[in-house]
């Protein structure tokens, strides 16, 4: 069968690609479009390293077929920083040293951005539950949560 021709929007840019049915959105982001910030950890929706937003909703890009991307709007880790500076969430992750190996970090940052758009003033418990689908095997999470809470405070202007 011929490949599917998909037209979509990624980080505000109209994007077209060709894909096979069994290719996931993550496969296309990384292997066809060169957007390698989203990581493949588990490929089964357990680890969250491939987190992106699809029409504003946080999803695992490994659990979305690329063919489903037709007419959808995606935000990936590549769209978080502006051309000039890091996003406050990124800055706080650096300040708190909320990463070691870094594989989980893009997913955490995308998921945190979605959290703070949904709930600008989360409790620590709410932040931990929201991020329960993002696994980190290095930090033990405390530094990540501290970075998230600090970024939330800054973004609220607190």
């Amino acid at each position: 069968m011929a490949k599917h021709h998909v037209t979509t929007t990624i980080n505000g840019d109209r994007t077209e690609f060709l894909c096979d049915t069994e290719q996931t959105l993550l496969d296309v982001l990384r292997d066809e479009l060169g957007l390698t910030g989203s990581k493949e950890g588990c490929a089964s929706g357990d680890c969250g390293a491939c987190s992106v937003t699809m029409n504003g909703t946080l999803v695992c890009s490994c659990l979305v077929l690329a063919a489903e991307a037709q007419d959808a709007k995606f935000e990936t880790i590549e769209g978080v920083a502006s051309a000039e500076e890091l996003h406050p969430i990124q800055r706080h992750f650096l300040q708190e040293a909320a990463l070691q190996c870094g594989i989980c970090t893009p997913g955490f940052i995308v998921a945190t951005k979605a959290l703070l758009e949904h709930n600008p003033d989360p409790t620590e418990t709410e932040a931990r539950y929201w991020l329960a689908g993002n696994l980190c095997r290095c930090t033990g999470y405390d530094k990540i949560i501290k970075a998230v809470m600090n970024a939330a405070a800054e973004m609220r202007g607190a």
Binding site: C60, L63, A111
Partner: protein, 288 residues
């Protein structure tokens, strides 16, 4: 290996036509949180995948005379944000919302969870307790089925190969009604139910239970409707004796597997405990 075809029909009629015309095995794609994992693991190899999320009916929630008609592909994140459904059927929502992470909730749906056919599916006992019905379409037209008649065994359903679920209807709720779903897992999040229990009940003015439904998950090859559990509650004020009888009926209904997550004895015991606790929560909600 042959290519997998893909279709994203825009109407129920178009989807029925595509499924009826499929040469090999076809899989219906809702949120994909099970199907994509199964594809990756090589557990399924369909000739065709039909994405039903572009069909408006599959992604909308309607309030009608018969209750809430919830499109089969409405994701947990959307359904959980619907205050009217949450108020009427908090137990159904809490079952659906227990499935996976925030990311999974962005995609996972009642219809997908039901048709995946897992005996441990977290949203099914709540739907069974709610006496929910499914609208099913196929080449022969539309039919209706109780949710408890859909799953027939692990990964197996009563749907014919060219049929799919369009919507799930949660019935109109009498006053003084409440429902609840509880599951046991060895962690606080992100796990598969060792036991799940859903209870729905309605009280009269004097606080006597006039209607009840009890359902269990993960304790048999399919989610169970426990009629003796309902009998234990109806006609009582849901007092200690009734709750004891409910727990005994729930344990008696179990026919579980024995595995590393729970032995037969353990699951059987916990089913009674959870049914009792879910009934107490449903009772508090009915009185509220």
């Amino acid at each position: 290996m042959a290519d997998i075809e893909f279709a994203a029909p825009r109407s129920v009629r178009e989807a029925v036509k595509i499924l009826a015309g499929a040469k090999g095995k076809a899989k219906v794609l809702a949120g994909g949180t099970d199907l994509l994992v199964q594809l990756r693991a090589g557990m399924v190899r369909p000739g065709l995948i039909v994405d039903i999320k572009q069909i408006p009916e599959l992604s909308t929630i309607k309030k009608g005379k018969k209750g809430f008609e919830i499109g089969a592909a409405v994701p947990g994140a959307v359904l959980g944000a619907n205050k009217a459904v949450l108020k009427a059927w908090p137990g159904v929502i809490e079952g659906l919302e227990l499935i996976g992470s925030t990311q999974i909730q962005g995609r996972a749906s009642l219809g997908g969870n039901l048709c995946n056919g897992s005996p441990a599916a977290d949203s099914i006992p709540g739907m069974i307790a709610a006496d929910a019905t499914c609208k099913i379409v196929g080449p022969k037209g539309t039919r209706s089925s109780k949710v408890e008649d859909i799953v027939t065994g692990p990964g197996k359903t009563s749907l014919k190969k060219d049929e799919f679920v369009v919507s799930i209807t949660l019935p109109e709720r009498p006053k003084k009604s409440g429902d609840a779903y509880l599951r046991f897992i060895p962690r606080t999040e992100m796990d598969i139910a060792v036991v799940g229990a859903g209870v729905s009940l309605t009280l009269d003015k004097k606080g006597v239970c006039t209607h009840a439904r009890v359902a269990l998950g993960a304790v048999a090859p399919k989610p169970l409707l426990v009629k003796d559990g309902a009998k234990a509650l109806i006609g009582t004020t849901v007092d200690a004796a009734a709750l004891d009888a409910l727990a005994a009926a729930a344990s008696a209904a179990c026919n579980p597997i024995d595995d590393k997550r729970g032995t037969i004895e353990y699951r059987t015991k916990v089913a009674g405990v959870l049914a009792r606790r879910a009934a107490v929560i449903a009772l508090e909600r009915a009185r509220a």
